[in-house]
Symmetry: none
Subunit: 333 residues, 2 copies
């Protein structure tokens, strides 16, 4: 423990049992012990019956070490680092991680027929649960889907098609408005909860996400928020129907590095061009504006004229964000 750690005043008095540490760090009990045995990651005090007793300091270190490991560090190298060194290492990672954690972005895996079938079945089952007004079942299916797929492919392969079907079925009258309402409300909750996941270090770059005036459908924006959060961005979500001036002001206030809008319905709202133009003119040059959603097609001319980015897929969107982050890293250094 270094001087600067002492100053930052994290409690070092030993008092927490291993189970609590496991809960708070997301590590397993076994793993915490293994790390201690092999690398002396921590050296907890003991109770009079040999139970390990950890301090808040230990917990914070373990949490950071887990994150650093996730970012590709070797345990041997980081095991003995004090807190501040870990934080430093981590803040560099955040930038570089994009090069390494190429999950499924660079390798656009070709789904097997089996997989496609399974997805279709899941979507069918969801539609059935919705018609039956069985919220519990619907939620269960959503959770299962999340486990089976990575978040990006879950959004792209399950949720997006589901929303599509839902829209079709409602328009054609084969599904009641009430069912569609219920499903939308539930999805709103579900997607909202996805957004803020565990690893939050406070140094993530921010991106403002919302929909412009007149656009009340927010599911697209929420999907974007969930998506960027897996790549280490912190989404600042403003909800739907936000005036251009307000969006620009928010971007400034929280020093966002990008702004992202979802455009869906109504696609021909005359306010869309106005708001886009206004927003783009108020944003600093180095803050790119992204748009996505079904209504983008109706405004493609304007969009390209204004220099707004409109990635064609989630994958492309992530790619653009990644580049953006790398560029800014270079400019900084």
């Amino acid at each position: 423990m270094t001087i600067s750690d002492q100053i930052s005043s994290i409690d070092t008095s030993p008092r927490h049992p291993i189970r609590l540490v496991a809960n708070r760090t997301g590590l397993t009990v076994d793993l915490i012990r293994a790390w201690e045995r092999r690398y002396q990651v921590v050296d907890p005090a003991r109770s009079d019956t040999q139970r390990r007793l950890y301090s808040d300091y230990d917990i914070e270190r373990l949490r950071l070490i887990r994150l650093a490991k996730q970012g590709g560090h070797r345990l041997v190298n980081i095991a003995r680092m004090p807190l501040d060194a870990l934080r430093d290492a981590l803040s560099e990672d955040i930038h570089f991680s994009s090069h390494h954690d190429n999950g499924e972005v660079q390798r656009p895996e070709r789904p097997s027929l089996l997989q496609i079938d399974a997805r279709a079945q899941t979507i069918d089952a969801m539609l059935f649960a919705i018609q039956a007004m069985d919220q519990h079942r619907f939620d269960q299916l959503l959770q299962q889907g999340m486990v089976r797929e990575s978040l990006p492919s879950f959004l792209e392969e399950i949720l997006a098609p589901l929303l599509q079907e839902l829209g079709n079925a409602t328009r054609s009258g084969s599904m009641r408005i009430a069912h569609e309402h219920m499903a939308t409300a539930h999805l709103r909750t579900f997607l909202g909860a996805l957004r803020y996941r565990e690893s939050f270090t406070g140094i993530e770059p921010k991106v403002v996400i919302t929909t412009p005036t007149g656009q009340f459908h927010e599911l697209g924006a929420l999907m974007a928020a969930a998506l960027v959060s897996v790549d280490g961005w912190l989404p600042v979500y403003l909800g739907p129907n936000t005036p251009a001036d307000e969006i620009a002001a928010s971007a400034v206030q929280c020093s966002a590095r990008a702004v992202c809008l979802s455009l869906t319905y109504p696609a021909d709202d005359p306010r869309i061009p106005t708001e886009l133009t206004r927003l783009k003119s108020q944003l600093a040059q180095n803050i790119p504006l992204f748009v996505g959603g079904s209504a983008v097609a109706a405004h493609s001319a304007l969009i390209s004229r204004l220099g707004i980015k409109s990635p064609a897929s989630f994958r492309e969107f992530r790619e653009e964000l990644r580049k953006l982050r790398d560029d800014q890293l270079e400019t900084n250094s």
Copy 2:
């Protein structure tokens, strides 16, 4: 028990038998006695025949100790903690552990000056976090508030005033629209997640909750949904802006025992009377219709003419629901 506990309004007069304590805390009778024997977790008064008599204070402590244990604390360490220390320990945990079940309690609270002050401070801190666009802090405060209060009083004493202030500040221009938007979006997620934390057995009576056509603000309806779930109802939440026909049809499809609407803004929407009349006429006689929210006042004449219930407070609302359920229980048996 510390000074601040004494002041903080929880009744310490001994009166509850052990059985009731077990029911309210979710612990077994044996366990409560074992904890007392081994760790002096509580020290209940005794009747003249040696029966244990617990106070509300004891119950609350036992409930929190159960939660703390679940979070990984060891009994030895938390057994003697006073209430406020337990709450502090728990609110630290909450931040990390994502899910914890929420044994509900209803206790009639008699707020002291200190408590009112604490609540006002919480609300202020929330408003501050919102202005700073610090979503993380805002969320943290919400989670803490949840632990410090029972859900009903959290909704009534913290969230409702917060929304009020938020509205005032936005109208008066002292808060940006963007801030209000962000806060609303975050609250939407938070309240949505509250709804189905409770254990679900499949035999709960259902209540359809929504807002009528033209009413887009859904936070009130979500608060109602969270509230009823505490009392063992299953809310069927349809989201905002649902046509009367659809509401009625939903009530039929899921055989709801009640329907509940939130009316807020705009209060003078001409569609409100139409929709209320239509909905009431389509609902079966034995399905009561509840309305709540700030716009109720503007339609009180119609509401009483139609025989719609409009409880004046959350407490009254719960009371009505309770009666309703008891009545139906009797009819069934």
